[in-house]
């Protein structure tokens, strides 16, 4: 019996002339595994294959021991949070979640209960009656996560789940994912920001150009990356105050202001930086609207590993 939650052997997917997956071979074990790679590496393609939304041109993929070519049964056990912001725009958040839960096969009463629980989890209960077309990107992201969680799947496929979220929501969701994994469920989570994945797991699969180029312990990869400083872009209403705060952190080597509401910080200790920034945002001392890692170093490592 295979110990893998997800197993891919020579998975190949073509989009006309372009190869989305190019003989992708990897094993994803129990617990949390990070799928890390630059934009366009094939992460979303692999997730769509796992969710039964793309058909392989070659190779095999199994999800929870079943071939991915038979998704109807597997989808009961899988929660998928796609990267694209598409939702049923004409519905309210509550209608949307209830509809998907009914499609999962829950009766009306159970669907209503689970819907409410999921909305509480992602902190959207107060806006449950508002139409999704009026939701911000961050709120949409939380709705997508809610629909992936609501039916309590054994396996969660989270494609860039922390995109567009504010620091407080990021911390809360990372804690939630860790809790889900402790309950014995499995998560495959993609990100192009290695440090987000690192907070949850040390098991990663690195992907580049549609191939798995490294698999296993994250710390060895990180050692490569930590040899160079990381640049982080922070969006804020108080750039001067934030810049002053950054200047006081000894691991920050450079601070600049590329736009009136943005601060660029270069740090030698990304994990300490993200932790400190999260604490600063939670304290309410300085408003932090968004954080984006300009992870050039990661790209360099990918290039190194990909040869």
């Amino acid at each position: 019996m295979s110990a893998s939650v997800v197993s891919a052997t020579g998975a190949t997917k073509r989009y006309g002339e372009v190869l989305g997956l190019n003989g992708f071979t990897a094993e994803f074990g129990p617990g949390i595994t990070g799928l890390v790679g630059p934009n366009g590496a094939g992460k979303s393609t692999f997730f769509r294959v796992l969710a039964g939304q793309l058909h392989l041109d070659a190779g095999t993929v199994t999800v929870l021991g079943r071939p991915v070519s038979a998704p109807v049964r597997t989808n009961r056990e899988v929660g998928y949070c796609p990267e694209s912001p598409t939702l049923y725009e004409w519905m309210s958040a509550e209608e949307f979640l209830r509809t998907l839960l009914r499609l999962d096969g829950f009766d009306a009463t159970e669907a209503r209960r689970r819907c409410e629980d999921a909305l509480v989890t992602v902190d959207l209960l107060p806006v449950k009656d508002r139409r999704l077309s009026g939701f911000s990107r961050g709120m949409r992201q939380r709705v997508k996560i809610a629909q992936a969680l609501a039916h309590e799947p054994s396996l969660l496929l989270l494609d860039e789940p922390l995109n567009a979220l504010d620091p407080v929501s990021r911390v809360r969701l990372l804690d939630l994912f860790a809790k889900i994994a402790r309950e014995g469920r499995h998560i495959i989570l993609s990100s192009h920001v290695l440090y987000e994945v690192e907070r949850l797991t040390d098991q990663i699969v690195m992907v580049s150009n549609g191939r798995a180029i490294a698999q296993g312990d994250l710390h060895q990869i990180r050692d490569l990356i930590d040899s160079r400083p990381l640049t982080v872009e922070v969006t804020t209403g108080a750039p001067r105050d934030l810049g002053r705060a950054f200047a006081g952190w000894d691991h920050v080597t450079d601070v600049s202001f590329p736009a009136p509401d943005k601060v660029l910080a270069q740090t030698r200790a990304p994990d300490v930086f993200y932790r400190s920034l999260g604490e600063l945002a939670r304290s309410g001392a300085i408003e932090v609207r968004g954080v984006r890692g300009l992870d050039d170093n990661l790209e360099a490592v990918f290039r190194l590993l990909a040869g």
């Binding site: 939304q53 793309l54 009914r102 054994s154």
Partner: protein
Amino acid sequence: MSISAPRYTMGPLAREPRWNRVRVIVFEGLMRRLGALNIVLIVLGSLIVGVEVVLFTTPAFVQITSFGATVGLSNFATPYESVAYLLLATLLVASAGAGAIAGDVANRSIALYLSRPISPLDYLIGKGSAVGLVLAIFFVIPGIGACLFAFVVGNVSIDLAALAMGAFVGVGLLATVVFSSLALLMSSLTRRPIFAGAAIFGVLVTAEILGALVQGVTRSSQSLFISPIADVLAVGQAAFGLTPAVNAGEALAILLIVTGVSLVIAYLRVRQVEVVG
């Protein structure tokens, strides 16, 4: 050292049966299809059927229009005696059916359907039923209402009213199934609802015009078979006791074949749908 493989336990599978899940797709699709334009078209269709049936079955109008005082089943056939009613239906088919599948692909909400335990067949049945319900409101309900009205206010016996109602229901359901399957086919062939709508309207109207043109040149009514509208008209006229321009049995066979082929192609297309980009 011992190695123990993890055990994967299935979650609660005793959830609602398949048809209840399909019903959710139908309901959601129905809400989407009942837009303002479609409601206007349904009202117009109802007016055509209602006015025509009343015109030819109530005593006062029967006298005025000198169609004779005796009302028979053929007096109810007026919606199926000209192409006006079915051309209006074509607009509704294009409007209500175009987005059935193409709309989900265009706005990518099909990704969320396909990530649920829904098979392509469930999806197609759900989408087809939603379109079919809207078309049935157009094709079946006005006929039933008009027959009841004629029975109440006109010199129409209960037997005749029931017979006419049966004809409206039978022909209406046939038209619903045929046009729904054509709409699903066109909607499955493109990612853009507007293209699907244009294709539905274009194919139906072009086939109708082409059939009539060829008939004019060849003096043979056989060419009318290529038009689903003419075929439905033929079956409708036969059901109401009139003599259609083409053989109604053959027209019915053609409609059933067209329906079957359309549904098979639509099913194969839905099976191939991928969420890209």
